[in-house]
């Protein structure tokens, strides 16, 4: 599968796909004789994984995960530890965002009341 097809399938630009490979977010993609990327099922799996995870896990952790994966069975525990730590951090950030959201909701409600009051006053005049 060409980079263009992968790009279209996952909604990631070709540049982004090359970037992911460059920095080691996904293992080297197989190439044709002339050096053109030819994504196989394994590569597609990595692309899908990274696309999904990159919203919540940083590049650095994901490259480390990819590196460990390529080292084989011996790194199973290290990989799990990495994922657990990333989960902790993600939960923390989500909790902060939830606080922002709560605050946003409070403020919006407040504006609603404020605007409704002005409305009534206008009609009362």
């Amino acid at each position: 599968m060409t980079i263009r097809e992968v790009s279209e399938r996952y909604g990631l630009s070709a540049d982004t796909l090359r970037y992911y490979e460059r920095v080691g977010l996904i293992p080297p993609v197989p190439r044709t004789g002339s050096g053109v990327r030819n994504y196989d099922a394994a590569s597609l799996g990595w692309v899908e994984l990274i696309k999904c995870m990159s919203a919540g896990v940083g590049i650095e952790a994901l490259t480390e995960y990819c590196r460990l994966f390529q080292l084989g069975e011996e790194t199973l525990e290290a990989r799990k530890a990495l994922l657990v730590e990333q989960r902790r951090q993600l939960r923390e950030r989500m909790e902060d965002m939830r606080k922002s959201l709560d605050r946003l909701n409070m403020k919006i409600e407040n504006y609603d009341q404020c605007l409704a009051r002005k409305e009534r006053e206008l009609r009362g005049v």
Copy 2:
């Protein structure tokens, strides 16, 4: 209240507090005769607001909110619209992060099973 005291109270560096003011995340802080910042209750309120919101809302939107606020009553509706739009975006990002978290949980569970199986095999030998 000096910048140092505010810094300690909210756990934000003095540099960050100056930065917030510089880019207009909070309105100009009152100064002493010699130009030193002297935070009053209103400024503290802004600092607290920004600290809470910055986890979920971008700088640009927050500066715009601050700008509108300083323009007075006329901008009530615009401010509300801004908050509603930011809430929409925040919910979207949180949803993406939730997907990452789900995926992370699945993978961790998988590693757990994998490691447990290896454990059993080891004991079985």
